[in-house]
């Protein structure tokens, strides 16, 4: 396949970026999108130019590192996959592909397609945990039975990979889907009840401080989420937040 790539290049956080066009040839449909980027980068290195910087690590869709906005969609045109699992067979010979970083106030660009998502970590520091110390004397794991339907729902929420596609897809740059996934996981489990009030208040407060916008229920986040995290989680977080606010 022969393609035209239009890629956002930005030297560092302070510099002004721009789109740069690169023609590329010899792309096989079996390549992953990132392997196509590897081909481009090795060509650039051989020409003495600097390769395009992007985050990537596991290349099997679970670490949440890769974060490209491809032809106007987070992780590109395929559904329920991350960029590393997107394959070039989804494109046609002669296509032009536009590749940009996540764009959101909470995710400043570091270089080219790489952004700083430490805001997500800080939201988790604010309450994304159960306060239990490590000891060999915790109660037996089967001491509290948990209804399968709740355990499964908690698991579904917990599969969020923290990639930020939800924020990138939202016109308000809202992080509600991400935050609500963690709030939901614990809200659905008995272990999470003890700190439920503080957790939701603190995590939402931190989310607002990081500059993420509010939710207006467009549902773009759910459509683009590579792990299929459901909007129901946002509704659950809103209920938790309301209850916590009344209590607090």
């Amino acid at each position: 396949m022969k393609l035209t790539l239009k890629i956002w290049r930005q030297k560092n956080a302070q510099a002004k970026g721009q789109m740069v066009t690169y023609p590329i040839d010899g792309i096989d449909g079996d390549m992953s999108f990132l392997e196509m980027m590897d081909v481009l980068n090795n060509e650039l290195i051989n020409k003495g130019e600097e390769p395009v910087v992007f985050d990537h690590d596991c290349r099997e869709g679970i670490c949440g590192s890769c974060s490209m906005f491809i032809n106007g969609e987070a992780h590109g045109p395929d559904r329920l996959v991350t960029t590393c699992q997107l394959h070039m067979r989804k494109f046609k010979d002669g296509d032009t592909i536009t590749i940009e970083p996540w764009r959101a106030a909470g995710f400043p660009v570091i270089k080219d397609l790489m952004v700083d998502r430490s805001s997500f970590d800080r939201i988790q520091h604010a309450g994304g945990f159960i306060s239990i110390n490590t000891s060999g004397n915790t109660q037996d794991a089967n001491a509290i039975p948990i209804e399968k339907i709740d355990a499964d729902a908690a698991f579904d929420a917990a599969t969020c990979i923290g990639c930020g596609a939800c924020v990138a897809s939202c016109k308000n740059s809202s992080a509600m889907l991400f935050v609500s996934a963690k709030v939901s996981q614990f809200a659905l489990l008995p272990q999470g009840q003890v700190e439920a009030t503080d957790r939701v208040l603190n995590m939402v407060k931190q989310m607002d401080e990081e500059g993420f916008g509010n939710c207006t229920n467009t549902g773009a986040c759910e459509v683009e989420c590579p792990k299929g995290i459901s909007l129901e989680n946002i509704a659950r977080m809103n209920r938790e937040y309301l209850a916590a606010s009344l209590k607090g």
């Binding site: 003495g48 690590d57 290349r59 590192s65 699992q85 520091h125 490590t134 037996d140 794991a141 272990q191």
Partner: protein, 670 residues
Amino acid sequence: MALDSKIPQGPLADKWTNYKNEINLVNPANKRLIDVIVVGTGLAGGSAAATLAELGYNVKAFCFQDSPRRAHSIAAQGGINAAKNYQGDGDSTYRLFYDTVKGGDYRSREANVYRLAEVSANIIDQCVAQGVPFARDYGGLLDNRSFGGVLVSRTFYAKGQTGQQLLLGAYSAMNRQIGRGKIKMYNRHEMLDIVKVDGKARGIITRNLITGEIERHSAHAVVLGTGGYGNVFYLSTNAMGSNVTAAWKAHKRGAYFANPCYTQIHPTCIPVSGDHQSKLTLMSESLRNDGRIWVPAKKEDAIAIREGRLKPTEIKEEDRDYYLERRYPAFGNLVPRDVASRAAKERCDAGFGVNKTGEAVYLDFASAIQRYGKEQAYVRHLDANDAALVKKLGQEVVKTKYGNLFQMYEKIVDQDPYNTPMMIYPAVHYTMGGLWVDYNLQTSVEGLYAIGEANFSDHGANRLGASALMQGLADGYFVLPYTIGHYLSNDIRTGPISTDSKEFEEAEQNVRKQVGALINNNGSKPVDYFHKKLGKIMWNKCGMSRNATDLTEAIEEISALRKEFYNEVRVPGGEDEYNEELAKALRVADFLELGELFAKDALTRNESCGGHFREESVELDGPQKGEALRDDENFTFVSAWEYKGEPKDAVLHKEELIYENIELKQRSYK
């Protein structure tokens, strides 16, 4: 230096309890005066950092990823073992211990493995208390599944994402401590050297990957939870960034490297599709519960498939060779990983492989779909003779069990595994070798600890499925926090460690020199060129099947490639900015040294054991003909290598393995 494993005296089952009763403790006020560095934030590093901070130590944690949550433990699929015996099927601490030692082909340390089995149950309790959503049955209790090489169901799981859920549990425990200021987290930092002061590990040198800054960090002890070195093969199931650098720098500073040649080559991975391939994707071992592995029995069929003239579904039942069921009737498709991988290679080398490359075998769910479909038809009182209905019902069952894996396969290969068999081939997955540690998990450098996959101690020559997660968390949550306390009890009056000493200066200059040399090299070839070339040598000559001629050649070739690397590598960009090529070059430089030691170790170990198969050491006749032949008389030891400049000059130290509780036997799965 003589190797002292420091195994406590007394009966096996009492060693750990007695040890804990006798060690020195540090009082809570004094813990606040002590700093600990933890490098790596996977299951081992993350759980250790969180637990040490809970105890009151000041922890500095480092990872090269942009968040500790992205460490590659996240990608573990199948599950975590624990001797809970919730199923009442006869499991016990002793059985888990026994299975692990046998599965490791009698090349691991009894006392360490027993302790691992002993604390395994605590891990599940701890994780559930943290809110890890393990799979549950309809009664609300925890569910289990079975893995290769064992006869009980002791594997706890969270669909195909157990590693993710456990890592997010450890990450949440870290987050609590980061929020309290007890862990200072350094993301996007790579450790590039260990600093020793008066013979003790007292700090590290790191490079900030964003700014390029070279930094000094001091502490009273240093813990490495930096994972394995499977990427020495270039293609593996490891993440792109997984590397040996931290462990290798420790090795260069005096930590012995143990059993580098023990590598796990996992039988069920998606085959290589072309030269562009950057990594390989695992299909969980749990699939072997229901999938049957086969190749065409006739060579002409295999050729026709490779040329695209024939489809696997067109091959009749009698023309298929279910070679694992044929060779190993007792364990069938659930033989341990090393055995399954070698058997696949044997068939493909003999010309029966499928896929365009001839390097793949089938993993077929058709009979499982039939079996489940019929069962569902009976349960729902539907027509069990309606073939289309049975297939549909069966596919639904398979989907609930393995849906995410099937989806992953379909996205990568572009074939529907519900209707045509999956193609799989072995790939490098895990390294049992690693830094040598004693019972305290301390390396041969005082104050330097290695935990999780980074050490060598628990899996011998082959790791059983669902045991890596168990070991990482056992080390981090339940073992290291005790053993390191005993060491640190001598440091309560030491006070903060200064970074202004000549030792820090020397280590920093060492790093600066290396970075500068690579940046200014002006070579002509990108880093990947060397990494791929190294990978080919490793795969062809130090892979699933090894012999003296190939290994001798590999040593020469890797040494030559290393020279070429330093002359010819081109690293574009500067050192004071984000520069992935520079980070890669620094890692590949270390792989080029490790690879040579790996081959030397494999050459020295002239026996077949676990994942290490020497063609010179096989059973020549009898029912086990052609199977791996261990040599207990000459090789019941751990090879611990001491660095002496060039890898070829490394000096071998032997730790004899003493089996007091288990009788050494031929590992038969027939």
